[in-house]
Subunit: 321 residues, 2 copies
């Protein structure tokens, strides 16, 4: 922001998260900024002030009630939680955030999850606690094939990290990609999905959630994986048909799953996933956007729009990401 | 081996491991090869036949009793277990093995161990098993500093993998290195050790074990790390002064340790490390050499020597690695 440019009024909207940490980051980056938080018009104060809404599962219908809104900013890589609002003002620019800090968190989580199951690290942790010296078979990453479904910024980053470790990495995306990291085998489109899946000892889902990818992880897909494959879902809960996963684990078609995203979060206490020991549940923590980056990108995107420039990571609503 | 070259006689020597898996690999790679296994001259058969000894903690004194021995081959990256033999025929060529399969295993283990403690993954695994949705603070790898002590093939490989994930990586070695992976900060020699240690939230030991590095991980070194640092030892057990580690954990100077190598293996059942919950013990499984690679390198090294050429990974006995 140039000196003298008035700071915008920013609404922070979430039905599922306490965004106090984000308010602190905005205040630190932009002292004196007018911040509004709340789940309805009454609690936001005068809504005609609001220039930009920063959203994570915003209350549906609320964005349409902000008359001067110029930008809708997701605080993360996905925008499905905003697109699901039937009253969404679809003519407004909608941006998402993907930065290197966020990619690093995802690379760390996915690398950990792949090694955790491929090398049987849970058994070592248990043996250590029990005072037992017990070797598991040691299989080199060179002999283990990891497939990444979804080759956006995060999928590409994970493919590169896993290839650097030494895994046999393959990637699948909707359209052909030319800039894959060295050593990563490329597949694309419906025609090549079967070939891709047939060589995935571990499958990592990092697709965007769109109408096309809703329910992507289903019985038909699991049947095309090698028997005993492991699933890692760091996409969205709605990529997964939950009953199909439980059936594939029961039959042995899948040996296990590591899930970080769920259709309902927090995952309800009585959900069947909690009672399936072959599922490792993590509470949507694979990565986080740096709150300072959210604050900076929100204001720089709004400034770009006001100067007639294209903001960063502008979403193509027809494509869905 | 050229067709017509007679296969050598190979002794497989270990006091601590059953090398049957390695015998199988030699027979598969070189059908009909003369293999000898045993811990004394009597069980090896006619010792004047033995051309090469492949060793992992060989019985001390035995190598000196093999009159036609032309090559001593360690089956892994370290040779300390051979150099410790007071009767070692020190004029014989001694080789070690470092290959990409082995490096991949080490990269996987070290990446896992760094993320496991940095991201608090053990708590998530416990929460999942207990049916609890419990977030831990999410700190990006960009804000965590990992130091690698020892920049040989394995140290360099781990530095590259951790930098690709997004950690702040620094490396320390005896002598200056010029070929560090992009983004890795370089330190060397005694003069720069303190600066190196002061910026290690996690310290990974991948040094060779020599007279100079014996007891490297001691109270004085721990005191130079940031308070609450984590230690990962994938070098040798004798790098570590065990009592100093226990004291550093008690005082809080170290928050935890991940140990894969021990002075006595298997770690005795009554060892204090088993009762310290801040120590994760793994049974020397960080990586393995591919047995087919051991068989191939052993015979190609012997062939190189017989043709007056330098074998691969020949050890400089004065330097100790």
């Amino acid at each position: 922001m140039n000196a003298g440019t008035p700071l915008p009024c920013v609404a922070l909207l979430s039905e599922v998260l306490d965004l106090g940490y984000l308010a602190n980051a905005f205040r630190k980056e932009f002292p004196g900024i007018d911040l509004r938080m709340g789940n309805d018009v009454a609690s936001l104060g005068p809504v005609e002030d609001v220039d930009v809404a920063v959203c994570w599962f915003p209350p549906h219908g609320l964005l349409a009630q902000l008359p001067k809104l110029a930008l809708i900013q997701s605080l993360a890589a996905g925008i499905d939680h905003i697109a699901a609002d039937a009253d969404l003002p679809r003519d407004l620019p909608l941006c998402r955030i993907v930065d290197t800090t966020m990619a690093a968190g995802m690379k760390a989580y996915v690398s950990w999850a792949v090694v955790q199951q491929h090398r049987g690290m849970a058994a070592y942790v248990a043996s250590s606690a029990a005072g037992r010296w017990e070797e598991q078979p040691v299989v080199s990453p060179r002999h283990h094939r990891v497939g990444i479904a979804g080759l956006g910024t995060l999928g590409m980053a994970c493919a590169e990290a896993l290839a650097t470790i030494g895994y046999q990495v393959r990637g699948w995306s909707r359209s052909a990609k030319t800039d894959l990291p060295e050593g990563v085998q490329s597949f694309h489109g419906d025609d090549q999905l079967g070939d891709f899946l047939g060589g995935c000892d571990t499958l990592v889902c990092l697709l965007p959630l769109t109408a096309q990818t809703h329910g992507f992880l289903n019985a038909s897909l699991f049947a095309q994986l090698p028997r005993g494959a492991h699933l890692i879902n760091v996409g969205r809960g709605d990529h997964l048909v939950e009953a199909d996963l439980l059936a594939a684990l029961q039959s042995g078609q899948l040996s296990g799953a590591t899930l970080d995203a769920f259709s309902v979060e927090p995952l309800p206490a009585d959900h069947a996933f909690w009672r399936e020991p072959r599922i490792l549940i993590t509470p949507h923590i694979s990565t986080r956007t740096d709150p300072a980056v959210i604050a900076q990108q929100t204001l720089s995107n709004l400034a770009a729009l006001r100067q007639g420039e294209r903001p960063r990571n502008l979403v193509d609503m027809a494509r869905g990401y």
